[in-house]
């Protein structure tokens, strides 16, 4: 299975943000989207999530045309993790996770015992099982983000699309989310993640694509795509890219901006 974008245009009804986007995400791939604020990463992800209508081009998943798939079948193939938010009503955390399984039932039905078990499993996968009975509105931003990741896991779609999942997480939780995504990729999931952290892309991605000035650069290997020169072009600040070696002799690419 693969997620194929060909010459896709996306954006809002009055403002086209990205044009000519071509990208393929295979199962077992971890593709990171980098780009400055307002470059259109979120618009692209929302188009894939079915929230924004595509303004042109073709999106195919599993060989099926995206725009003709009912929302229910889209949700069975692709899960979207939005940035953490605060809803009005104080739903139980486990209820929020179980909402990830909504596409599995007819409209008038609700979660079964198996669905509650799946929701608990998903919550345990992000180590949040202790929070199951808490109210979602009482969680911190980072905890909410973990719950939303769990909800996407409960959805059991083969592709995960994440919009800056690390942006509201503390350092430890950032790493935990990335580890979990890496593990999912090893298990055969396809992941497309927008991020503001080039080091996350360097560390985790199998390929990196850069969104800039209304275009998406062809995705390439992180080490080749994220050179100091490229990063400087993207973010307009000077960068250092370095490789660390840990005690076991493994290489870890790192990057950091110069701050004078």
């Amino acid at each position: 299975m693969s997620l194929v974008l060909e010459n896709v245009s996306c954006g809002y009804t009055r403002r086209r943000v990205l044009t000519g986007v071509s990208l393929t995400v295979e199962e077992g791939e971890f593709v990171c989207l980098l780009g400055p604020n307002g470059s259109g990463k979120t618009a692209l992800l929302k188009t894939l999530a079915g929230i924004l209508p595509p303004l042109g081009g073709s999106i195919q998943i599993d060989g099926r045309e995206w725009s003709t798939l009912p929302v229910r079948e889209r949700a069975a193939r692709l899960a979207y993790v939005p940035q953490a938010h605060a809803p009005l009503f104080a739903f139980r955390v486990l209820d929020v996770v179980a909402m990830g399984r909504t596409a599995r039932w007819p409209l008038w039905s609700g979660p079964t015992a198996a669905d509650w078990r799946a929701a608990e499993t998903a919550l345990a996968a992000v180590q949040m099982e202790a929070f199951a009975e808490r109210r979602y509105t009482e969680l911190s931003g980072g905890e909410r983000q973990m719950v939303l990741v769990a909800r996407a896991l409960a959805q059991e779609a083969r592709f995960l699309v994440l919009d800056e999942p690390a942006s509201s997480l503390d350092f430890g939780n950032q790493v935990r989310v990335l580890q979990m995504l890496r593990q999912l990729v090893r298990e055969g999931f396809g992941v497309l993640m927008a991020t503001h952290h080039p080091e996350h892309a360097l560390r985790c991605a199998t390929r990196v694509a850069v969104v800039r000035e209304g275009r998406l650069s062809p995705a390439g290997a992180p080490g080749e795509t994220l050179t100091a020169v490229r990063l400087e072009v993207i973010y307009r600040v000077p960068f250092v890219v370095a490789n660390l070696t840990d005690h076991a002799g493994r290489l870890f690419p790192l990057c950091a901006p110069h701050i004078d």
């Binding site: 929230i51 605060a86 139980r92 929070f131 509105t137 250092v240 070696t245 002799g249």
Partner: protein, 378 residues
């Protein structure tokens, strides 16, 4: 230009202790998110307990409501209708007429309308993600009020007035829906609420015009009394006309209560989770409008039930619509039955029902505002 590669020896010391723990498998870091402090569970944890208690309360309330009224009956008087009891002092035929022609239709109407308005209100609050929304937010009540006032002024029959009220209530919501499609900017639900306000004001302006034009001695008091809501003239026929649309609306709303949970997170997210948001929204709007319009057509404008009861239930068992809607149905039925009983019993002259629901609803609502605000604000 700025590229640099640290040497292996140096990076070992840099990476060493600080780095290795971070790449442990996830399982080893279990328990990093510590068990949270226990939160107070909802006041009533098991919804089935609440359902049973409320159902029992309805049975008891109905018995008491049947017994007391302008002509109080003893339990024996009442019991002789269904059981072989002795000691009845009122003739069976009198009791039968009192119960089946007067009290029972009124009790059934109070139960049904209270249940319907509460379920419609709870659904709207979820759909519009706004806990201050009531079922007449899209103009159903003021549209129906306009129709009823017009019918009264034209001296139509009671059925004619009710039909016109029902039709114009539906029409007002259709107008709201149509107008909101033509307005640009904002989300669809926001546009609906705003155009609903416009149509509601338009309806009330129409009522004001009719009140000005109506005969101040015969028609104006009728219109005024109708606008305050009352069940005093409900007949068995009214109940037969009221129940089918109300039951259909409530059943559809009850069926949609899980997708409504998802919609309450936001329509964008609901779409991404596989909910056909347009269908759910339209069905919810249609059903809630059906319930509200038929309730207003039979009983007049009864405020506060659809706003206050969902709040009370949310405070008791939490915001999950799976439990919220059935509990709101039962509690709304009880609330309006007792409001109607008070309207019947307090004074020799009947109070308008809308005044009683307001007088009972406001104190409860204020208490909830104090105690439950944290469950629905950010």
């Amino acid at each position: 230009m700025n590229e640099a590669t640290t040497t292996a020896s140096r990076s070992t010391s840099v990476g060493g202790a600080g780095f290795a723990p971070a790449i442990r498998p996830a399982a080893e870091t279990a328990g990093v998110n510590p068990a949270p402090p226990t939160t107070p569970p909802p006041a009533i944890a098991a919804p089935w307990l609440l359902y049973s208690a409320l159902a029992a309360a309805i049975v008891g309330s109905v018995a008491i409501s049947l017994r007391y009224g302008a002509h109080p009956l003893s339990w024996s008087d009442l019991g002789q209708l269904w059981f072989d009891v002795t000691g009845a002092t009122v003739p069976r035929a009198t009791v039968s007429s009192l119960v089946y022609d007067i009290r029972l239709p009124r009790i059934l109407a109070a139960l049904a309308i209270g249940a319907g308005l509460s379920v419609a209100g709870a659904s709207y609050q979820g759909l519009f993600r706004n806990s201050l929304v009531s079922p007449d937010i899209l103009g159903a009540s003021s549209g129906a009020a306009f129709g009823a006032a017009l019918g009264i002024m034209l001296a139509w029959s009671v059925l004619g007035i009710q039909g016109l009220a029902f039709g114009s209530g539906l029409g007002a919501v259709a107008l709201t829906y149509g107008l909101s499609r033509g307005v640009g900017g904002g989300t669809f639900t926001l546009k609906l609420v705003l155009t609903g306000m416009v149509v509601g004001s338009l309806g009330m302006a129409g009522v004001a015009v009719i009140k000005t034009l109506a005969d101040p001695y015969s028609k104006l008091p009728l219109i005024t009394y109708w606008l305050l809501g009352s069940l005093s003239s409900v007949t068995a026929l009214d109940v037969k006309l009221l129940l089918p649309p109300l039951v259909v609306g409530v059943v559809v709303l009850l069926a949609l209560r899980w997708p409504l949970n998802v919609m309450a997170l936001g329509e964008d997210e609901a779409r991404a989770l596989g909910v056909p948001t347009g269908t759910v929204r339209l069905l919810t709007l249609l059903s809630a409008t059906l319930v509200t319009a038929v309730a207003v057509a039979v009983a007049g404008v009864i405020g506060w039930v659809g706003l206050m009861v969902p709040h009370l239930v949310r405070f008791m068992i939490g915001p999950n619509h799976r439990d919220l809607l059935p509990a709101a149905l039962l509690l709304g039925a009880i609330f309006l039955l007792w409001a109607d009983n008070l309207a019947r019993w307090i004074f020799v002259v009947e109070l308008p029902l809308g005044v009683v629901t307001c007088a009972c609803g406001i104190p409860i609502f204020l208490v909830l505002l104090r105690r439950a605000a944290r469950s629905w604000n950010d």
